[in-house]
Assembly symmetry: D2
Homo-oligomer: 374 residues x 4
C-alpha cells in the first residue's frame, strides 16, 4: 500500500503544531510528506523544507496548489497548520484543485471565512478533515460508543472543561502572540484555541449539541485583547444541561481537558492527561475503571489502539488516529468506495459548529451572558 | 475542665445527621449530651433518649427550652438537627433563653424565618453556630490562610462543585423525603442541601462572596418538586469569576465536594473525599502536594488536627472541629473573655449568606438565568 | 447502656498514642475514662490526670490495679499505652485482677515477657485486646470477607509494605528515642513499630500466616541500634508467596501501609492513607473501585462504618472500631454471653505472632537471610 | 538528512513486538524500513513483507545478511524482534557484516549464546543496541540525572517491580507459548520477559548494580515450566538495599512497572502506566510532582520529549527515543564522529547484566534463595 503523498502549509521552524502533524502523519506509515509551503518567509520556508528533507518547497501556498495539482506525482492531501486567519485561504485553494485538506482547528478566524470555505468544500470532490485530535483517543471512541448504546440512559449532564495555565502572565512568544491577537486568532482567545476542543469533544462523545448557551468571558491579564477564560452554561434539546469551562490562566493545569457525562443510568469520566483510563459508573454499582484495550474494551476503541493495555498511548497516537482515519477515507474515496465502516473523523460541520460556538459565546458575553443559540 | 452540657433537638431513631453531631460533640471530650427532644413523636423521642442514655427526654423543644433554662444543671448549648423548616423555631426558643445554639445548615427553610431568627440571635447573649462542617477540615484552614497571606496573588477564578448521586432515581426514604419537599426543605433542593456547602466553602477559603450570580436549575427526576441540579456562574467584586455546580443526580459521585481556586500567582485544589491532601500550584514551579500536618502545614491547620500526617482524618474529625471551636467560643463567652485567637466557626452571617444564595439562584433561574445579586 | 469504666497506663503529657486511645475510646460513647497511672513520673502523672479530668490518678500501675480491683466502681478495663518494654508488667497485673486489658502493640519487648503475659492471660477470666488498629478499617473487613468467600480464588501472592520517613535522619524526641532503643523497644526497630502492623494486617486479611521468612535488615542512620528498614520474603503453607517491606527511612512516605493480595481469580489493593477505597480486580474484568459503605459493601464492613460513602472515615474511626469491638466483647463477657456474631478484635495470639515475626526476622538476618519459621 | 535504511528479522503477521519496533523506527522519521526476513515460514515472510510494502523480502536472515551487505543500498541497521532463542544467531550474522543491530531484550536465551554474541559484538565495528525501551521515557532520564546530581543524597533503597496479569491462567497464544517455553525463552519466564526490564531500569536510574541477590521463584499455573513470579532481595555495594518483584500472575496489573528510589535526602517514585509524572520527595519538604517538560524539567529529559507538558507521551514515544538515540549514534559512527553528548542507549553490557540477573536468580532459587552474585 503506497503512502499518501502529503503537502504542508505552515509548520516551519519555530512552529509547534506543524511538528505534531508531521509525527501524526508518519506514525502509522500512511503518508509521505513530499512538499510544503512551510512559511510565508521564503528563506525560512526553504530552510525548513531542507531540514525536513522535503522533495519540493514553495514560497507560497497558491503556487504550491497550482503546481502540485498539475504534477502526476503531486500531493494527494495537504495539511494546513497555520494560525487561524490563514486556514481559509489555503484550504479553499487546495480544495478547488481536488486536493484533500487536513486542517488544524478552529476552522477559520471569522465566520465569513468559514462560510466561504464551507461553500467551496461542499462543492469540492476532495475531503475536508479538521484535526479535532482528541476525538482520536481510543477511550473517547469507547465513551461515544457506550453512550450511543444507551449505557448511561438518557443523558442529563455534560461537564466539560479545558484548563491550561501558560497564559497566566503576559508572554511574548510566537505561540502566544498570534493566539492573543484578534486579527490572527479571530473572535476567541481561549475560546477558539481550546474551548472549541472542549465543545467538539462533548459533542462527539454525547452525540448532541446545545441549543442555547450563556457565556461569561474574561481577559484577566492586563492588555490582553481576547478572552483568557470562558465560563459557559449549556442547554441541550430534550432538557440535558451542561457547563463548559475553558481557561488559559489556571495555574497548575497543563492540558486539563476533562469530560464528565451523566445520564439516568450511569456516568463516564475521562481526563486527557491520563487518557488510557475511563471511569464508568453505573448507578448503584461499584465504579469501574476501563483501560484502553483492557477488559471491556469495545471494537470502536480497539480499532484505533496499537499496543496492549498498560502500555500508555498518548497525544501523538490520538492525533495519528485522525490522520489514519483520514487516510482510510482518502483511500476509499480515491477508489470510489464508500467510507469503511467505523471510520470517523471531524470535518466541515464540526468546524462550523466550533465557529458558531465561539460566535455565540462572544455574542452572549456582550449581552451580559444572555442565552444565545449557537 | 468540665464538659459543656449539651441538649439535642431532632436526631431520633432513623435520622442521619443527629448521629454525626453526637459523635462530633463527643470526639474531643468537650461536651456531655444530657437532654433531648429527639423526635416530634413522643414515643420515638423517649425510645431514642433511652437508647442514648440521656438524663432528660422531652416531648417537644419548647418544653425542653423552658425547663432546661430553669435548671441549675440545665444544658448550656443545644444542637438542632431537624429538617430545615424546623430550625428557626427551636433556635429562637433556646436563644431567647440564653442557651447557645449549634444548628445544622442551611439556616432555615425560608428567608422570613431566617430574618426572624437573625433578629433574635442578634439580641441574644448566647452564641449561634451553624455547622458548615467542611470549614473544619485542617487543609481548608490551610487553604484559607494561604490565600489570606497572598500565596495565590490576586484571585481570578473559583471553581467549586458538590456532586452526589443518591437522588439519581426517585427514592422514598426519611432522608430523601424531606429534602425533596418544599415545605420542609425550603426553596432549594440540591441547592439548599449541598449547594450551600459549596457556596460557604468557597467564601470561607477565598474570603470573598460573589456580587452577582446566574443560575440554571433542573429537576431531572420526574415528579421532583425541587432542583436536583444547579449550574451557577459567579461574579465577584473586583473581577474574579466562578462556577458552582451542585448535583444529586451525577452517578458515581458520592460526596464530591471539590474546590479549585486560581490567582495571578498560583492555584489550590482540594477534594473532600480525600481531604488530607491539598494541591498547591505556584505558577511556573512544580506542583506541590501538601498533606495534613505534613511539611509546610501552617499553624492554622495544625491547631485543628489530631494525628500525624499519613494517618487520615476524615469527615467526623472535620465536623468535630466545628464543635470544638464552638466549645472554645462558649467557654470564653461564659468566662467573659474574648474569643481565643484563631478560633473560627460559621455563624449567623454565613447562614444568611447561604439563604441569599438559594433565593438568588431560584430568582435567577425563574428569570432565565439572569444575573441576580445574592 | 452504661459506658465501660476505663483506666489508662501511660499516655501522659508529651505522649502520642495515649491521646489516640482516648479519642478511640470516646468516639462511640462506649467508655468513660475514670482512672490512670499516666506517667512513671508522679508529678507528671498527676498533672496529666488533672488536665484530662480523671476521677482517680495513681503514681504507679501496681497501686492502681490493686485499688481499682477493690472498688465497686473500679475500672472494668485498662488501656496500656506505654513503650513496649512496659506492656507486660501492667498487663499481667490487671489481668490477674480480672480487669480487661486493651494493650498497644507490639505485645511486649521480649519473647520472655510475651510468654509470661500469655500464661497469665490464658489463666485470666478477663479479656486481652491488642490494638492492631488497622484491622478496624471497614474496607479491611471487606477484604477479609471477600477472601474468605473465595472471591480471589486460591491465594498466590501477598505484597505488603509499611513505609514511613520520619527516621530518615537521626532525631531526638520522646517518640523517636524509645523506638530506637533496644531496651525499651525490644529486638525490632521498624520491625516492631510498623512491621508488626504489616504482618498482622496481611494475616488478618488473608487468613493465613507464613511458614517461613527470609529477612534482610538495615540500620541506615549512623549510630542507630535497631533496624530502620526490613526487607522480608514470605512463604505460606500451600505455596503462596509474599514480600513484606517495612521502612522508616523512605522520604515522602508518611504512613504508607499498603496491602496487595492476588489469587487465581482476582486481586485486592488497599492503602491506609486513603482507606475508604478498595480495588477489586477480578481477572479478565474491568477493575472495580469499592468504597466504604458504597455499592458492593458487605455487612462485615458496614457494621463498623458510621457515615455514608464519600464522607471519609479515617485512622481514628478505625482505631475506635477496635475499642468498640472490645466493648461489645466485654459486655457480652460480663453478661456471660457468647461473643456476638461478627465481633472481631486482635488479641493474644496476634501479639504472639507479631513477636515471633520480629524474632524470626532478627534471627534470619543474623543468618544472612536464611529461611526461618516464625 | 537521509533516513537510515533498516531491515527487520522477525515481526511477521501475528507478532506483537515487531509492530512496536516499526512504529518506533518511523516516529521520528529517522529510519526507512526496506528489507526483512519477517518469518521463518517463507510464505508468511513474503505475505508480511508485501503487507508492509518492503522493498526486499528474504526467507531467512543469513541470506538477508549476506545479500544486504553486498548491496550499495543495503540496510545499515537491522532490528531483531524474534523470540529470545533467535536473537544471537541473526545478531552475530549482521554484526559480522558491519550492520548495526537493534535487538529486542533479553539479550539471548542462554548465557553461552550471550558470550558468543558479546565476542562478536566487541569485535565488530557496528553498533549493538538493546531495546530496554523504558530507559527512553523522558522522566526516567530526569530521574537518572537527578540522582547523578545528588538530589537524593546517598542512595539507600531501590524498590522496583513489574507486575502483569496476562499469564494468571494457562493461555495458548503465540505470545504466551514461546514466553513459557524454556527452549525459546531461556532460563527465565517472568524473569526474562519483564524482570530484566525492572532490573535494567533500576540500574539505569540509580547508576548502580547489586552485588548480591536472593531470589524466590514460583510457577503458580499448573504445568508452567518457567517462573511466573519472582521475589528478589538486592544488596548493593556500599550498603544500599533493594527489592525486585516481577509477576505475570497479579490480576489487575497490566504493565505495572514501578520504581521507587530513596536516599538520605529524598525520594523519587515513577510508574510506567502514567509515565508523564515523577514524584520527587525531598525529605522534610512538600512532595513535588514533576511532569514531563513541565517546570523543573532537566535538559536530559527535554531532549527526548516532543510535546508540551500535559499532552501525554507514551510507550511508543519512549520506544522511539531508543531508536532515535540509536540513529544519532549510528550517524555519528558512520561519520567517524564521537557519540553526541547526552545520547544514551542500552547496549551489550546491559544485555549481559540482564542475563546474569536471570541466571543468578535461577541459581539462587535452586539454593533456597541463597545470596548469589549476579
Amino acid at each position: 500500500m503506497e503512502p499518501i503523498r502529503l503537502g504542508m502549509v505552515g509548520g516551519g521552524q519555530g512552529a509547534f503544531i506543524g511538528g505534531v502533524h508531521r509525527i501524526a502523519a508518519r506514525l502509522d506509515g500512511q503518508y509521505a510528506l513530499v512538499a510544503g509551503a512551510l512559511s510565508s518567509d521564503p528563506a525560512r520556508a526553504a530552510a525548513s523544507a531542507a531540514e525536513l528533507g522535503l522533495a519540493r518547497s514553495y514560497d507560497d501556498y497558491r503556487q504550491m496548489a497550482a503546481r502540485e495539482a498539475r504534477r502526476k506525482d503531486g500531493i494527494q492531501a495537504v495539511a494546513i497548520v497555520t494560525p487561524n486567519h490563514m486556514h481559509a485561504g489555503p484550504a479553499i485553494e487546495f480544495l478547488k484543485r481536488g486536493i484533500h485538506v487536513i486542517c488544524d482547528k478552529p476552522l477559520t478566524a471569522t465566520m465569513a471565512e468559514a462560510k466561504r470555505l464551507a461553500k467551496v468544500a461542499e462543492a469540492s470532490k476532495a475531503l475536508f478533515i479538521l484535526t479535532h485530535n482528541y476525538t482520536g483517543y481510543p477511550l473517547i471512541r469507547q465513551a461515544r460508543a457506550m453512550i450511543a448504546a444507551g449505557d448511561l440512559g438518557a443523558l442529563r449532564l455534560v461537564q466539560v472543561e479545558y484548563a491550561q495555565d501558560w497564559l497566566t502572565e503576559a508572554v511574548a512568544s510566537k505561540q502566544a502572540d498570534w493566539r492573543t491577537d484578534p486579527l490572527r486568532s479571530g473572535l476567541g482567545g481561549a475560546l477558539g484555541d481550546i474551548g472549541t476542543h472542549a465543545w467538539n469533544l462533548a459533542a462527539f462523545v454525547t452525540g448532541m449539541e446545545p441549543e442555547a448557551l450563556a457565556a461569561d468571558l474574561s481577559s484577566f491579564v492586563p492588555g490582553r485583547a481576547l478572552d483568557d477564560n470562558a465560563h459557559v452554561m449549556l442547554r441541550y434539546p430534550g432538557g440535558a444541561k451542561g457547563m463548559l469551562w475553558a481557561s488559559q490562566v489556571a495555574p497548575g493545569n497543563e492540558n486539563g481537558l476533562r469530560l464528565r457525562v451523566y445520564g439516568a443510568k450511569g456516568g463516564l469520566e475521562w481526563e486527557q492527561e491520563n487518557p488510557n483510563r475511563l471511569w464508568f459508573t453505573p448507578f448503584g454499582e461499584p465504579k469501574r475503571l476501563l483501560t484502553r484495550n483492557g477488559a471491556g474494551a469495545l471494537p470502536e476503541a480497539q480499532r484505533v489502539s496499537r499496543v496492549p493495555p498498560g502500555h500508555p498511548e498518548g497525544y501523538l497516537e490520538g492525533f495519528a488516529n485522525i490522520y489514519t482515519e483520514a487516510a482510510r477515507a482518502i483511500r476509499a474515496h480515491e477508489a470510489g468506495e464508500a467510507l469503511p465502516e467505523g471510520v470517523l473523523f471531524p470535518g466541515l460541520s464540526d468546524g462550523i459548529s466550533g465557529m458558531r460556538f465561539v460566535a455565540a459565546c462572544v455574542q452572549s458575553a456582550k449581552r451580559n451572558a444572555a442565552w444565545v443559540a449557537p
